[in-house]
Assembly symmetry: C2
Homo-oligomer: 529 residues x 2
Amino acid sequence: MTTNEKTTMIEQWGLFELALKGTSQGNPFLEVEFSATFHQGDKSIRTTGFYDGGGTYRVRFMPGSQGVWRYQTASNLPELNGIEGSFTCIAPGPDNHGPVRVANPYHFAYADGTPYLPVGTTCYVWNLQGEPLESQTLETLKKSPFNKIRFCVFPKRYAYNQNDPAIYPFPGEVKRDPSEKFVIGLTQAPPPDYWDFSRFVPEYFQHLEQRIADLQVLGIEADLILFHPYDFGAWGFDRMPAEVNDRYLKYVVARFSAYRNLWWSFANEYELLRDRTTEDWDRYFQLVQAEDSYNHLRSVHNIKVFYDHTKPWVTHSSVQHGDVAKTITWLKQYRKPVVVDECGYEGDINQQWGNLTPQEMVNRFWLGFANGGHVGHGETYWNEEEVLWWSKGGVLKGESVARIAFLRQIIEAVPAPGLEPLNKARFEDIVTMEEVMEMFAFRNETANLLGTWASHVPAAGHNGTDYFLLYFGNHQPVYHEFDLTGSFRIDIIDTWEMTISCFAESVTGPVRVSLPRKPYIAIRLQRPA
Amino acid sequence: MTTNEKTTMIEQWGLFELALKGTSQGNPFLEVEFSATFHQGDKSIRTTGFYDGGGTYRVRFMPGSQGVWRYQTASNLPELNGIEGSFTCIAPGPDNHGPVRVANPYHFAYADGTPYLPVGTTCYVWNLQGEPLESQTLETLKKSPFNKIRFCVFPKRYAYNQNDPAIYPFPGEVKRDPSEKFVIGLTQAPPPDYWDFSRFVPEYFQHLEQRIADLQVLGIEADLILFHPYDFGAWGFDRMPAEVNDRYLKYVVARFSAYRNLWWSFANEYELLRDRTTEDWDRYFQLVQAEDSYNHLRSVHNIKVFYDHTKPWVTHSSVQHGDVAKTITWLKQYRKPVVVDECGYEGDINQQWGNLTPQEMVNRFWLGFANGGHVGHGETYWNEEEVLWWSKGGVLKGESVARIAFLRQIIEAVPAPGLEPLNKARFEDIVTMEEVMEMFAFRNETANLLGTWASHVPAAGHNGTDYFLLYFGNHQPVYHEFDLTGSFRIDIIDTWEMTISCFAESVTGPVRVSLPRKPYIAIRLQRPA
């Protein structure tokens, strides 16, 4: 038995899907095994299918190379077994560069080699707000500088998050006395308190993958958070049985991994999932790594105690930390790209992590990038409706976004592969006597010539020779001195006012650059054209 | 043999001095032993005298109790031996509260029990600048909010410090080829390169003690820095033989310890004195502790690696650190008062430690005090003359000083003994999984009711019940919520604009305090009058 041999055209890194009808009897989620193997030349890739409800079974595939691909299904259901077919993988469209990979080794690039610089934001459960808010969020993102967004599979209960989603990932029933007020502050009928964890609700996941596809159209990576602790007894999705967690992971990999703009974030603030051990997290990583045919990026976000990002299944360090200048330390510690996905949010709520001034939000972006890392945004302006961007999306009200767009322009103009820290270490992070001695013995010719190490100025460069960025943060020097080897063009960047002024078209040797006595100034050095 | 029995009157904690003539032959600094023992009732205090040049020997005493004190000298010089006399110690003058002691145990008080709140500044070698600059510095201090100043015994060679003092602490000779340019940037004749470390130059120390006395008149504590590394081969006072270091310490104790406004700071950035071991520092502390009859405050200032302030001879933690909010951690670690003597300086030079905005300088003051500590000031505005307050004194140009005066008023109005941190720990300093778990298990009723722990707001209180200060730093919340037990008056303090506005004369229970959406705001809660 074969499917229609009429040639299907799928662009490289596009999504091929085979949908088949089968039984809806029993529990297909538990009982049906279904997969397909895709062949091209020597290549053979097996991917797992999934049950999508109503007797429909799907298997998806993201081709990584052009040309004809042939496939054959395998299943314990006879009607899903042994189906063969093929499609032709054609050149990618102009905005399709493939999935993002680690490169060089502290940066990212799309599969086609185009550099990718993550400039992310966070809207934890924007995808569970229904219309018209979800469409409004997409409209806002379309006009924003953001090319990555962190959000959750599961709903969230927390301050400013008292609403329930329209549907849930599992079938549920209310078995308690429905008058019981078990969640403080809940303003609507309480959600189910009994879940059938042996089945998924396909519509829940269909909606989520529609949102992943919507983001793909906008060129935005979906940094999908698989677990989070912000449940507090509302639903119990933070404390499911171990085998349900594993089955859930396999299901989302089967459904979502063929979307090229997908990243796996194993948790938000993983330490707060207090019943999980380090071995659990290790197993989740390994399970997803084994099931995901495309090796999408994988990391996990902390509240305080970093997961060991040196482990081989971690592709990059996803960090929560308010002190982004530590990026230089994390780069050296983990030897992987650093994305400070959470460093605090521009806003005005009554939590110190959610009431940064726009100046400080932008300052943290510059500090992170000028230390060779990447920083993520969020926004938490209080409003009566409790629609805060950080969790529900909507519109952006802050002043940092325009400055982040300005920063993105500047950093994207850095020659590939991008910036790496120039100084040996962060002065503030030195803690042992040995490091103090090493600090004074340090002779990095470039850092010395640029005057960054002695003056403790964060700085990053490209290849150590042809491009440098120094960022003075909330400090206000009136001058900085260089002793340049070779000629450089020097620009002074006001990161808040978003201006770039040329100090010198071409200078060499000792030079004192006068600076305005104000915070948020950067100096850029480039080889003259 | 006795001195004139005519009654000398010395106020309590004043300075009694007995000057005697003796030989100037040989080397009196090495060869003459001279001391006096002072008696009152059961009390007997032996103090060491010193040679002051020109055949004059002096011994000094600071009486700690009123009434008649009798003394008797002892010496290996017959003309200095066995001299007896007495004086009457009378009540202290109105501005004389005695030396400062540790109290309660995280605060300070004068010997008469008056609370002392250190609000310090730094002028490392103001005392070696000659006239008219030294007098100008004293004039500036007189009008300033500062009641402590850190400065050095030895001269300093560093950026913006290329001038030599008029005289040196030891007799010296130029033995090298005088045309040799051995110090880069030196603009005058090079100083001696050979020192007779067996003798002191009394005039050098006479001048220094005049400055200590000048500060005493202004009510300013002299936090005297005994060693520092900023010599770089200019004079070699950072690398003297071990026995010279010890003799020097004994000499300064003999000369200066009877000044009530004296603190001992064993070093500035002690780790950079690279030939010293921890045992050396221990010995210096113990030596001074043994020689100083008055137990003046003792600490040592770091660049990166704190000396172990738990050691019994350390009275308080003198800290250099840019992140003053760690005060809460140091208080718990060392169980002694914390004085962040150096957290960076308001200014605009090309070093990140010396180009803080005035806003950030004030912010660090508030963060330190609102965490139960004390913070010191400095100023480094660049000028062609290279007279920067931080090192040479002169005039203050910055905008932080007026705000520090405003802060001092507020903190001095806190009931004795002062503020202690309210929260269990600093959220940002939590690093282990155990601490994360402890953080979430923490139930400090007061911190919970004040909403500080959950929201990560630094806060300190008096006795945990009747006075609280919350400081939001460079954050911009639009509200903060309390659930007050008992009635409180609530004031909103704009620490930069220096305004205090009453939110409520008396409130209790749950209250939402609206705040202006701007940084540098504090909330003060007090029991209503």
